[in-house]
Symmetry: C2
Subunit: 115 residues, 2 copies
Amino acid sequence: MLPMRPELLKGHLDTLLLAVLEPGPQHGYAVIETLRNGSDGALDLPTGTVYPALHRLERAGLIAGDWQTVGGRRRRAYRLTPAGQAALGEQRAVWEQFSTAVTAVLTRRAWPATA
Amino acid sequence: MLPMRPELLKGHLDTLLLAVLEPGPQHGYAVIETLRNGSDGALDLPTGTVYPALHRLERAGLIAGDWQTVGGRRRRAYRLTPAGQAALGEQRAVWEQFSTAVTAVLTRRAWPATA
DNA sequence: ACCTCATAGGTAGCATCACAAAGTATTGCG
DNA sequence: CGCAATACTTTGTGATGCTACCTATGAGGT
């Protein structure tokens, strides 16, 4: 699996994180694994990307975190807030539109006369 | 049509431009129109985005530009170089992989046990 | 006891890049 | 003449993902 160019994710990371948390709370480290597994290894994000993004989403009120201690290790389990659930819905629609548009441009073979 | 958040395009703009130029040369202003038409209005890019990107691609040797004068107006018609054609092929594959991964994450309803 | 790995979290600084905003010129229309 | 459309350019800024580094615990191997 090629190492994905970093900037490709720009603007889509938040959407992915919200989607991962939708079925139920997860802590940061698990989120990373879930993304890797759920994307067949294509989305293998470094901690320095994911943790700050989770903090950002929390500050924005889209997710909320609760500290836990499991087996002597401190974890932070994040869950979607109602605002986060709403934002996820909107962002799914945005992705749909964006990916449709890009795919259309990339697969078109001939262009109608510009006139 | 929602105004698309700017960052969404990050890293994908070059691919789009190469794809637009694939069927034949176009000048910058026409590229913008072609993108807008080809994406049903979703990709409506400002000149301050497209022109610098074209310069970048030219410096990278992926496209080449020729000055023309049409009706008293100076234009720069860009065409794909062989390197640009090759890059387009690669980047189409990258987009395929990326969009597949993101869509997979966004549409999955339940996640396999993380264990 | 020691080492290493996996787990779990964190921050500082950097680089990239699309965009906003402003500018230059020409043609053509009212 | 004034204004829109065509066509290109440049400066500066903001957002954000990544690299690199750091702390800490538990488990397994030697």
